[in-house]
Every structure is written in C-alpha cells, then in structure tokens.
C-alpha cells in the first residue's frame, strides 16, 4: 500500500509505520466501538498515514466532520475528536459535547500535531474539559508523501512566519526534525540560510541538549540537513512551473497527493454502448511514484512528455503483440502472468495521455504563451523597471487577480523592488479593478517582501542571476543537462543554492549570500563515537533539504534531477512545511474579509 515510500535512498516507510503504530495505540486506548469526528483539514494528511481499513480494524464504525450543533447519532461507545489545536475548534467541540445527551458516551480528544494548554484552558472555561477521558496528542509533523518527499501540510506557515511573527510552525518543524533524527539518526551537519532556518536550527540544537544523555545509537542516514527560508527565494514559486507535475498542480491543483480533473476526457468508452451520460463527478487520481509511468514522466519538462508517452505506448503495444509469438503453453502462461501488470500500465498510459492533452490545450494557448513570455522577460531582467503593458492589459481585461499579483510580485522581485511611481500605479489599478478591500492583501505582500518600493538605487538581482547562473539560454527540455529545464530556462535559485552547497561549497558565493535575506550558517552535531560512517567508494551522500514556507513541484523535480546526475555524488530528500505553487502561495497571503453585509 505504501511500498513506494521505501524504494528511495531513505526508507520513509519507517516514519509512516511509526505514525501508524502510534495511531493504533491511541485507538486501542479507547476500548469499544468508536466514532471519529474529524477536523476536516486533517483528513487529507491522515489519508497518507492510514486508510479507513486501519481505523475499521480498531473498531472505528463511524466518521463525521466536525461542525457546530449536535453530533449525528451513532451507536458507539467512544466519540473521538481529531483536531488541530485551535480555539475556534474547541468551541465547536464544547457545543458538540454539551448537546450530547448520551450519558454512557466516552469522549476523547486527539490533538494533532500537539496538545495545547491554551485549548485545554478553553475547554475548561466552556465547562467540558472534565467530560474527556483521554486528552492526547498525535505528533504528526512530517508526513511521508513519496519516497523522497515529506511535508508538514502546514498551509499558513509562510504567512505566520513573515506576516504575523508567529513561529509556531517553526517549533513544529524543529520537533519534526527531532522525531526524524530519532528514527534515522543524528544529522551531523546542518546548513541554513534565512532567519527562520536559523531559528529552527537553534531550536534543534537546544532540544538536542534537552535530550542529552539519551544518545541516539542509530547510524545516521542523512549526512546533511539544509534549511532554506522561502523568503530567500521568493522568485521561484511565482514563476509558472513547466514540468508535467508542476503544470498539473498549477492548472488543477494537487491536494495531499490527489488531483481532481475534468471528467470529459476520462469517459469510459465502452464498445457498443453509446456514451449517453458523461460523468459529471470530477475524476480523482492519486499521483505518486507507485505508478511507474508517472514516476518516469512527472519531472520532465512538459515539452518532453509527449515523446515519452508515445515511446511508452509503443512499448506497451509491443508487449501486447508478444501474445502472437507465444507458442508453447509455458510461453502463454508467462504472458498471462504479466497481463495484470500490462493492463495497469495501459490504463495508466491512457490516463496520462488524457491529462497531457488537457494540459496541452492550455499551454498552447496564446494567453499562456504571452504570460510565460513576460515571466521570462522579467527573469532575464528585461524592462523590469517600467509599467509592463501586458500586466496593464491583463488588468484592463480583468484577468484573475492572482495572476496579476504573481506577475507584479515577480517584477518587483526581479527588480529588487519597484519604483514608487510604478508600484503605486499597479496598486491603484488593482484596487480600482478588483476592489478596495485588496488593500490589505497588498499590505501583506509588501510585508512579506514580495512587493516593495525600491529603496536603494542598486538592483542586485542581475548580480545574483549571473553569479548563480539563474538563466540558461539553451535549456535542453528533452535531455536536460541542467536544472534550468524545469522552468525552460530559469534555474530555481533555491536549488542553485543547494547545488552550490554540495559543490564547490557556499564559500564560493559569499557575496551573493550576503545579498539574500537572513543569515547563512553551518552547525555540526556531535555523533557518538562508533557512529561515524565509513563511506564506501563512490557511495552517495544524502542531504535533507527543508524548505521553510513551501516548495514547488518544479523545485522538487530539479532536486530529483540533481540526485540522478551521475557525477553529483549527492542524493536529496525533500521536506517542506507545505507543497505550494504561485497561486496557492499568494492565496495564503491574501486577506479574506468577511463578505460585506450590504
């Protein structure tokens, strides 16, 4: 079920198993039949840890979504609330409990990822704290997403850190990294760039001191941890991702490993049966490396996906043709034994061909092309100091606000801030066109550094671009030789930093590092003697790259590309607070004002 987690360099299934074990232990603590009341936000992440079957084995008979009012009726002994520690949820729970008249019911709360005194206090004030038999915490910080990918699914991390000065997510990050180290050994080297990175590293070192004495006797799996603040590289997520997976996310949005697609292209064409009723439900697909074909094409530039798909199609049909060559009973038997695998491959091919067609309709549109052209102009530093006509036109035509914000922010980042006049012009246009309430969103973007007035006359973006080779003219999309293929020319800054760290080291780019916000640092964690790895000749080192504030699929693709490069000598495991793209990221920074009462 989760075998794909164990294929990689680091067996992330260990983490998943540890999480499952803890869940089972908690469920068994509440003896008898149970109903779970879910904080809706948690269902997605939990799906990556345990399916319903596991819950069922432990006598979970009903599941509800947490909402105010009365609990739906269920003939169970235990009611368990699975919630994030948020005050507003406590009020709902209190109402649920208060209005439940079954006296024989046992109530339990499981806080995810950590219990909170503040919330318990609130329950106490509401007078229901005593109704709970168990109040526990389920420490689910890092959720294994794929064989090389961990995410905390903490949506508001960037906003909290940079807008609200609330470092809760960083505390969870540090705790999560401690859990990871408990399972995979102490990580001897820690590098980082950015204020949040520094903060997390500090907390980790402090927590290590707190745990001193319980020396971790596990041979370290990771050689290095690299902590990167998202605000060190604000540019990358703003750009449109051009890998297959990146585009799926940009266009349809991938949530907890699932994507919902328009159903038309996936209609089952059964022979003889007229397709009279087209499905109206969106097609839901799980996307991860368990699917062989997807693992192969997910990180390719979209322009290389077509070729890959047709090659695959040939292989599959050739495989089916084999049946004509099967003469002996033995051969036929062997053919038949491979059939299920081949059929799965064929349906996977059909799915991805459909998805690719859907995407192609969009990527070949003029609007997509124009947008991309402007993005690339900005990234190469063309006319970034003037009001851009394309943006102007888009506003005039009232294109989606987020698209506008992505472009304006990108221009600002690539110009190290916009001239006051230009900035004010954009802002006024946005307010007039999309509504004055967005003044708060604009304020947020400024606070987060995505949008800013130019303060110094010097624009250091070109220097950064040149030193780190962020723009590669001749990006090879089909057979890439550099990470820049993921954005068809632009090499993500964050990944360049990672690449340079591995070789030749950050000392070579001190100047650029100083231009980027926040400190850069290196820490070493002492290993108990006897745990120092004796590296085999040619054995790769493993680095865990942690993106604080989100990472995009294209960046992940670039890191996977680096892992696969023959001479890189480094394998990367990726961790993040949340998987993002420009749209979801900007959205998380927008201020939602309750709809007006007029």
């Amino acid at each position: 079920m989760a075998a794909h987690l164990s294929y990689g360099r680091v067996n992330l299934n260990i983490l998943r198993e540890a999480a499952r074990k803890e869940l089972r232990e908690f469920l068994d603590k509440c003896a008898g039949s149970k109903a779970i009341v879910w904080d809706e936000y948690l269902t997605g992440p939990f799906g990556l840890i345990a399916q319903y079957s596991l819950l069922k084995e432990h006598e979970v008979e009903k599941m509800f979504t947490l909402k105010s009012g009365r609990l739906p009726s269920a003939d169970v002994k235990n009611i368990i609330f699975f919630v994030r520690p948020r005050l507003e949820l406590m009020d709902i729970i209190a109402e649920n409990v208060f209005r439940c008249h079954h006296s024989s019911r046992d109530f339990h709360i499981l806080f995810v990822p950590r219990r909170s005194m503040l919330c318990e206090q609130r329950l106490k004030e509401q007078g229901v704290l005593g109704s709970f038999i168990n109040i526990d915490e389920y420490i689910l910080d890092l959720i294994p997403y794929d064989g090389d990918l961990l995410s905390m699914e903490y949506e508001s991390a960037f906003r909290e850190c940079y807008l609200e000065n609330d470092q809760t997510s960083l505390y969870h990050t540090a705790k999560g990294l401690m859990t990871l180290q408990a399972l995979y050994g102490t990580i001897p080297q820690i590098y980082g760039k950015g204020d949040c990175a520094r903060h997390v590293a500090n907390m980790m070192l402090r927590m290590k001191r707190e745990f001193a004495g319980t020396q971790n006797q596990i041979l370290p799996v990771f050689d290095t941890l690299l902590l990167l603040d998202r605000n060190v590289d604000l540019l990358t997520p703003l750009a449109t991702q051009l890998t297959y997976e990146g585009l799926i996310d940009e266009i349809y949005g991938i949530n907890n490993g699932y994507v919902k697609l328009p159903p038309e292209k996936f209609a089952q064409k059964k022979q003889g049966e007229a397709s009279k009723d087209l499905p109206t439900e969106p097609k839901k697909l799980q996307l991860n490396s368990a699917e062989e074909l997807y693992a192969e094409i997910r990180d390719k530039n979209f322009n290389a996906v077509g070729a890959a798909l047709s090659k695959k199609a040939k292989i599959i049909s050739a495989a089916f043709e084999e049946r004509h060559n099967a003469k002996t009973v033995g051969e036929i038997k062997q053919f038949v034994s491979q059939l299920p695998h081949m059929q799965a491959a064929r349906s996977s091919l059909a799915n991805h061909t459909s998805i690719a067609e859907l995407i192609k309709d969009i990527t070949t549109s003029e609007a997509f092309f124009d947008n991309l052209t402007v993005e690339q102009e900005f990234m190469t530093g063309v006319d970034t100091d003037k009001v851009n006509t394309y943006i102007e036109d888009c506003i005039a035509q009232k294109d989606p606000l987020i698209k506008i914000l992505r472009l304006v922010c990108m221009q600002s980042v690539c110009n190290n801030g916009l001239k006051q006049k230009v900035l004010d012009y954009y802002k006024r246009e946005i307010l007039q066109t999309y509504g004055y309430e967005h003044i708060l969103t604009l304020n947020n973007l400024e606070k987060g550094g995505l949008l800013k007035p130019q303060t110094s006359s010097r624009n250091n973006y070109p220097t950064i671009r040149k030193t780190l080779k962020l723009w590669m003219e001749d990006a090879n999309e089909q057979n890439p030789n550099d990470i820049s293929y993921v954005y068809s020319g632009y090499a993500p800054l964050s990944i360049r930093l990672t690449q340079v760290l591995a070789r030749p080291g950050w000392r070579s780019i001190e100047e650029v590092l100083k231009m980027l916000p926040g400190p850069h640092f290196e820490e070493r964690q002492q290993l108990p003697s006897g745990l120092h790895k004796k590296r085999q000749q040619g054995e790769n080192r493993t680095t865990l790259v942690f993106f604080l504030g989100g990472v995009t699929y294209a960046e992940i693709a670039a890191l996977r590309f680096l892992s696969q490069m023959e001479d890189s000598g480094m394998e990367y495991i990726i961790a993040t607070t949340k998987l993002v793209n420009g749209t979801t990221w900007i959205k998380s920074l927008m201020d939602r004002i309750p709809p007006s009462c007029f």
Binding site: P85, L87, E88, R114, R115, S116, M117, L118, Q121, E164, N165, D166, Q167, T168, L170, Y171, A174, H199, N202, M203, R206, R209, E210, A212, G213, T214, E392, D393, I395, A396, Q397, K398, D424, K427, R428, E429, L431, Q432, T433, Y434, G435, Y436, E437, I439, L440, N443, D591, I593, P594, S596, C597, F598
Partner: protein
C-alpha cells in the same frame, strides 16, 4: 583451606554458618537492654530508643540512628509521646508509632518529615502493640488497640486506615500476632488462648494449623518468613510448628523442650533453600531449628536483635554483628571436606599451580575427562559471589580465571559481572559505609536501588564511582546522583546563593538528564528564591523553567523563557496567566518588551478580542496596523455613515503611518461610496429604486454594483450598462482611470449591449489606446462578424494577420502574411487552413519557398 568450614554446623543435609560482618562502631553504654530497636533489612540502618516508655519529662529518652555497622548518623532527645514501636519504611524512613496512635516519620538523619494518625479513637484506647510490615503496596503499619481492635494501613504513603472486625473473646492484646499478605490481601493472624484466628477486612475466622499436635498447647509466638510464604508457631509447651502461611500445609514440628517464650523468632531461609530453619532467641541461647527436626545451639552472652533477611538472619549485639545463613549449595560443593565436585577440583588445581606443582595438571585432567571444566568455572564464580571474605573471593575468582584459560568458547560475562559486583559489594560493606549486603540481596534490590541508598546516605563520591565503574548510562547513573547531590547542596545554609549556584554548575555542568528546574524547585521549597532563579538559568529545557518561575511570581522571566523555548503554546500559557495576574497597563508593557509574545497575543486577539487588538496597536503607535484594523472593521459595518467614519479613521492612521498611497486609496474608496450614494439618491426613486440598505431584488448590472460597494470597476460597468455615460465619464476623470482601461471597459460594455453604432462612434472618437485588434476580438466574442470586420483594416500591420484570422478571413490573413514576408505568420495561417483551401495553401507554400531561397 580447611578453616573455611570451621564455622559450619550441620543441620540435616545442609550446613549453617555464622560469619562476622562487623565489630560494631558504636559504643553503647547499656548494650541493647531495655531499648526499642529497629533495624531495616538489606543492611539498612538501625534505630535505637532507650527506655521508650519512661514518662518523666525531666529525663527524655534519646533516639539514636546508626548505620548497620554502628556508625552514628543522628541522635536527638525524644520529646514526643511514649513510643510503642519503631520501624523502617522501604525508603529508609523511620516510623515511630506512639501510644496515642500517631505515627511520626523521620528521615535517616533524624529530621522530622511528617506524621499521621492511626485513627482518632486510638487516642483514648491507646496502642497496645504495633508492627511495621512491607507489602507489595509499600510499607504498612498495623496496631492493636486497648479495645482489642486491629487497625491496618497497607501503604503509609497512600494512607487508608482499615479497622478490622472484632475478634470474639479477645480481651486486651492477643498473646501474639503477625501480619500476613496473601493474594494481595493483608490479614492478621493472632492467637488468643488456645485459639488461632485470621482477621481480614470483613471477617474473623478461627483456624487450626494442619497437623499441630493436640498436646502442643496454645501459641505464644509466631513468625512469618521474609517472603510471607511460611509461618512458624511456637507453643507454650515448647513445640515449634512450621508450615505454609496459608495454613494449608505442615512442614515440620519440633519439640524444643523450652517452655519459656523466646524473645525473638525469625525464619532463616535462602532462595533454593535445602534446609530452611527458624531461629529462636532466648536470653542466653540461640537455637536454629531446622525443618528436618535437627537443631543447632549457640550460646549468647549479650542481648541481641535478630533481623530476618532474604537469605539469612543478621544477629546484632552491642559489640558485633553476624550473619547466620545456610551455606549455599555451591559453596558446600566446593569447600566440603573431600568434595570431588568440579569446582573443588579446579580450586585445588589452581592451588597446586600456584605452588608450581605438576599436580595442577592432574586435577585439571580429571575435570576435563569428565568434561566438567565449564561447570567448574561456573561453580567457582558463583561461590565467590556468596563469600564474604575477600581472600576467599579472590582465590575462587583466580581459580575460575585459571580454568577459563583451558576453555575455548566460554562466555566471560558471568565472570566479569561477578568481579565487578564483588568490587562494588566489598566497597559498600566497608564499615564506614555500612551496607552489609549479600550478593543475593544485591541482586534482589538492584544496583539502581543501591545507588539510591548510597545517595540517600550522602555517599555521593562513592555512588558516582560505582556508576562509572559499572558503566551505568549517565541518565540512570551519575546524573541521578548529581541531581540528589545538588538538591542537597541547595539546602546548605552556610553558603551564599552565588557560591552554591557556582558549585552546582561546576559539578553538574551539562550532565544529561539532570533537571536544573528540579534542583531549583528544591531551592525554592527551602525558601531560596534567588538561588532558584540562578539555577533555573542553567536549565536547558525552557518548558521546565516556566511553571516554576510562574510559581515564584517571576512572570516576566517566565515569559522570556517561554519565548526562548520556541514553544508557542507555552508562550500563550504564560501570556494568559499574565493577563489574569496583571493590570492591563502592566500587561501591555510586559508584552511590549517581548515582540514574539506580543505578536502571538495579537493573533489571539484577532480571533478572540478585536477591541483589545485596537488598544494594542494604539499603545504601540502602530498606525499602519491600526489603519488596517479600521479597514477590516469598516467591512463589517452595515451603515454607510459608520462605515465612512471608520474609513476616515483609517485614512488618518495611514497618514500618520506616512503611507500616502494607502491614505489616498482609502480616500478614493470613500469618494466612491459617496458617489454611489449620491447616484442612489438622485436616481434612486425613479430609476434604480434602490436604497443602500436593501439589496434583495435588482437587475443584474445593478446588483453587481451594490453587492460590492467598494468595487470601482463594477460601478463603472454598472453605470455603462445602465447607459449612464455621463456619470461614467465623471468617474473616469475623477479617479484618473488610465485610458487603456477605460477604453476596454467601454468597448466591452457597448459590445455586450450590442450598441454597434455607438461603438463605431467611440472607435473614431480618437486613436484607440488599446489598438483595434481588441475591437475585432470583442465583436467576435459577441458573435458579430460583420461589425468585427469593420475594424480589421484599422489594425496595425503587426496584428493584421491575427485580425484576419480572428474573423476567419484566410485569404486576407494570407495576403497580410505574404506581404510581411513573415514565415511564422504564414505558418500560423497554414495551420488554420483545411483541405478545401487549396488555393490559399498553394500561395502560402510558394511564398514560403520563395522566402526560403533568399
């Protein structure tokens, strides 16, 4: 080594021996006579109270506490009431049970800890007798009162008094009684005249020991074994009955021929006992009565006290202390005269070897022939563990080591661990330490408890040495010792806070697992708050510091520690604590110094207390946030006037924050709102029929406008849709709308309303800032090809091809592309051609070929 067996006395098949443990260090003037004595098992301390019942206030009895070797630990005059019984708890605390039923608890050093009472009624009836016993639940106390009732407390740390049912016919105290624990129940067995009773929680049952001779008489003394499994009864006719304590089985009955009641009677067994016995003590005689009916007699010169141990009996007199035990089987095998056991032969072999005699080889050969060398080594190692004398230990271990040389794959574990454990045991047996533990006792109590006991006796250096020597993980070893040391150190009154803090820090350092907050809590308990704060500074886990700091009312410090920990929940906890503790002004000031806490509190307020949020911003002169606050608030306001006034406040604040743009934008917003209202007032009654308050049923265009009152674009669209061009024009000028956008707006609006004439007029009003391709496309979107074509000719050359294509004029597009000699455009046209467009395709291909030649 014949002398080893010199003190062996045969008892049945087995032997008993008496080994001297100590010459007592104490100097007791009157010996143990007339004293209450309590000595704890496992080599525990000894408490002595002389003449406990002497009631004259002028001469108070002295309570003395000694180590097992007789080293004085504490001594103080007993000022409280008459004491009936002394006893030790499992954690080496002294219980003094008084006549009035109160029980006073002292620590090893004689400091008073606490007291409890065995019941109010006892004050009247008085305690006649009391016993301290140990059960799986802890240490218990049992008393029998003047009204002949028993009261039990099974665990003094979780005091629950149980009054047992009345015993029929009992007057005063019974002739003898013991406490039994069986099946997790605590019961009392007592003898009254000829009858024996078992009293438990609910009932009192008469019992008869199986097989007790009818002529034995009444039971006058009884004793239960260390493990509570066996029982011994002594009758007034001198019969000693032994059996299981559940009275199901009889082991033996011995006629001791003594009719006086023994002073003390104790079981002497050992694990895997061959020949258990009961030791009876009279004034001048010690009698070991085996279950086999054999007896051994030792004369006594001095009054003694017997202490039952797991594997023997300790005999304490005023001058020395001895251990009486059954000789372990393995020692018998080795040392028994003429023993041919492999261990004995190995010991002999080694002895010969040391004498450089070839006989060593003969012995070895003999063992090897029986393939018993491994067994021999094991025997020697095991026997060494049982021996008290270090020379004997050494010779056995050497022999084992010698034998080991001739074995190939023999696990050295037992040898190594026995060596280590013996070293530890020998060091704690030292008279100065005074813990005469046998190896079996040591194994039973575990090294952790041993270290605890050493720590409790403040033998810190020795405890640390042992931890290091036995390589106990720091967490359970050295750190634990240091923690206790530090907790003790902070109580040292003659040292300054500074000095103690420094001393603690130097010794404890970063030792893993030592909780500075625990030490600090201890200091705080002793009233040394300053020291506690100093110590807390060393604590790595901020989470641990916070609760204590709050308790000590150092809330500011608690807050900064919480912030340091990074645990936001902890910060919230302190913040909410402070909020309740402080007045608002101080609270805000405190937060102001802690930006992290302040932002968290703001977050909290955003969700829970909007009003407080405003006050916070006000206090900080954070005009920007204050303005944002007003903006947010304005959207929640239903009435236009209040909304405008909130927005005005926002403008003011933006101005104060020097955010000119935002101030201006907000002013614009207000202007727009007023404009809308004016429009509503003017046109409202006749044309729009709207008011600001009712928003229900309207035409589509209008509802957009009013549903989003701040929406400039929507307002413009609505105005244009309603044909209010003049007003739209006015807005366009007033709000400095860029031409481009205005043109787009008007273009779309006119096209949507299909006002084609108006559109054409508009297109000619001046040169379009958005070009004319837009006109073509918008017309096409409204499905009017005819109108669209009107604008194709006006499109700039660069966009010509696109424009032609937009109206599906392939020929026109082809012409334009060929004219411009633009291959990409030709390609674009080609891609739109279908088979029926033969002519166009040919032309384009020719043109392309021509272009390619050049």
């Amino acid at each position: 080594m014949a002398f080893i067996t010199a003190n062996w006395n045969p008892l049945g098949e087995a032997f008993y021996r008496k080994t001297e443990l100590y010459e007592m260090c104490w100097n007791l003037r009157d010996g143990l006579r007339d004293s209450l004595v309590a000595a704890a098992p496992y080599g525990g301390p000894i408490a002595l109270l002389r003449e406990p019942l002497r009631r004259s206030p002028s001469s108070r009895p002295q309570l003395e506490i000694y180590s097992a070797s007789g080293v004085g630990i504490a001594s103080f005059p007993w000022k409280s009431g008459p004491v009936v019984q002394l006893g030790w708890t499992v954690s080496d605390e002294l219980l003094c049970i008084q006549e009035d039923g109160s029980v006073l608890i002292y620590d090893l050093f004689g400091s008073f800890k606490r007291h409890f009472s065995m019941g109010q009624e006892v004050v009247q009836t008085q305690v006649l007798e009391a016993k301290v016993f140990h059960s799986p639940y802890g240490t218990g106390v049992a008393i029998v009162t003047g009204s002949s009732r028993f009261t039990l407390a099974t665990n003094i740390d979780d005091l629950k008094l149980r009054r047992l049912p009345e015993v029929p016919g009992l007057q005063g105290k019974p002739s003898c009684w013991v406490v039994l624990t069986q099946d997790r129940q605590t019961k009392v067995l007592l003898s009254n005249g000829l009858d024996l009773y078992i009293v438990d929680n609910t009932s009192c049952t008469a019992v008869v020991p199986p097989g007790l001779s009818p002529q034995a008489g009444s039971v006058v003394h009884m004793s239960v074994s260390f493990s509570y499994k066996y029982l011994a009864l002594f009758t007034d006719s001198g019969h000693l009955w032994t059996g299981t304590s559940n009275l199901q089985e009889k082991l033996s009955e011995v006629d001791t021929k003594k009719t006086t009641t023994p002073r003390q009677m104790v079981w002497c067994r050992r694990p895997k006992s061959q020949q258990p016995s009961v030791v009876l003590m009279w004034d001048r005689l010690l009698l070991v009565a085996g279950v086999c009916n054999d007896t051994i007699q030792f004369p006594l010169e001095d009054p003694c006290v017997l202490i039952g141990e797991l594997d023997g009996v300790r005999i304490i007199s005023s001058t020395n202390q001895e251990l009486l035990q059954e000789v372990p089987l393995v020692c018998q095998d080795i040392f028994k005269i003429a023993s041919m056991a492999p261990g004995a032969l190995l010991l002999e072999a080694h002895r010969e070897y040391e004498k450089l005699s070839q006989k060593a080889d003969e012995y070895l050969r003999e063992i090897k022939e029986q393939s018993m060398l491994g067994e021999a080594v094991k025997q020697c190692v095991e026997a060494a563990g049982h021996e008290y004398d270090t020379n004997t230990q050494k010779s056995l271990m050497r022999a084992a080591s010698f034998g080991k040389c001739f074995l190939t794959d023999f696990s050295p574990d037992q040898f190594v661990s026995t060596c280590r454990e013996l070293r530890v045991l020998n060091s704690v047996r030292e008279s100065s330490v005074g813990l005469p533990l046998t190896h079996a006792q040591f194994k039973q109590m575990t090294v952790q408890v041993l270290i605890d006991r050493l720590v409790y006796r403040q033998f810190y250096p020795l405890a640390i040495e042992i931890c290091r020597y036995l390589k106990i993980p720091d967490y359970q070893g050295v750190s634990r010792v240091l923690k206790h040391w530090a907790s003790c150190k902070v109580q040292q009154k003659d040292l300054s806070d500074e000095a103690i803090a420094r001393a603690v820090c130097v010794k404890v350092g970063d030792s893993p697992g030592v909780s500075y907050s625990d030490i600090a809590a201890r200091a705080y308990e002793c009233g040394r708050t300053e020291l506690a704060i100093k110590l807390l500074d060393f604590e790595a886990r901020s989470g641990e510091q916070v609760p204590l700091l709050l308790k000590m009312k150092r809330s500011q410090l608690a807050l900064s520690k919480a912030v340091e920990s990074g645990d936001t929940d902890l910060v919230y906890t302190v913040v909410s604590y402070l909020k309740n503790e402080m007045n608002r002004g101080d609270f805000f000031m405190t937060l102001r110094n802690q930006p992290v806490a302040l932002s968290l509190y703001r977050q909290f307020c955003k969700l829970q207390e909007q009003e407080t949020l405003k006050d916070l911003y006000n206090q900080d002169d954070d005009h920007q946030e204050l303005a944002n606050y007003y903006v947010t608030a304005s959207y929640k306001e239903k009435r236009l006037e209040s909304r405008l006034s909130l927005l005005q406040s926002a403008v003011d604040e933006y101005n104060k924050a020097k955010n000119e743009f935002a101030a201006k934008a907000t002013e614009d917003e207000m202007r727009l709102l007023r404009f809308q209202r004016k429009l509503d007032d003017e046109k409202g009654a006749g044309l729009l029929g709207l008011s600001l308050q009712t928003t229900q049923v309207r035409s589509d265009a209008v509802s957009i406008m009013w549903a989003e009152p701040e929406h400039f674009q929507a307002t413009m669209e609505a105005l244009l849709a309603l044909g209010l061009h003049k007003q739209a024009e006015q807005l366009y000028r007033d709000f400095r709308v860029p031409d481009k956008r205005y043109w787009w707006l008007k273009l779309k609006s006119l096209a949507e309303k299909e006002e084609w004439e108006e559109l054409e007029k508009f297109s000619k009003s001046k040169k379009s800032p958005i070009g004319y391709l837009a006109f073509v496309e918008v017309c096409m979107k409204c499905n009017n090809k005819y109108e669209a074509k009107k604008y194709v000719s006006k499109v700039t050359p660069e966009q010509k091809v696109k424009a032609h294509l937009a109206v599906s004029d392939l020929e026109g597009a082809a012409d334009a592309a060929i004219e411009r000699r633009n291959e990409a455009e030709m390609g674009a046209v080609l891609s739109r051609c279908s088979a029926s467009d033969r002519l166009v395709i040919d032309r384009l291909n020719r043109a392309r070929a021509g272009a390619a030649k050049k």
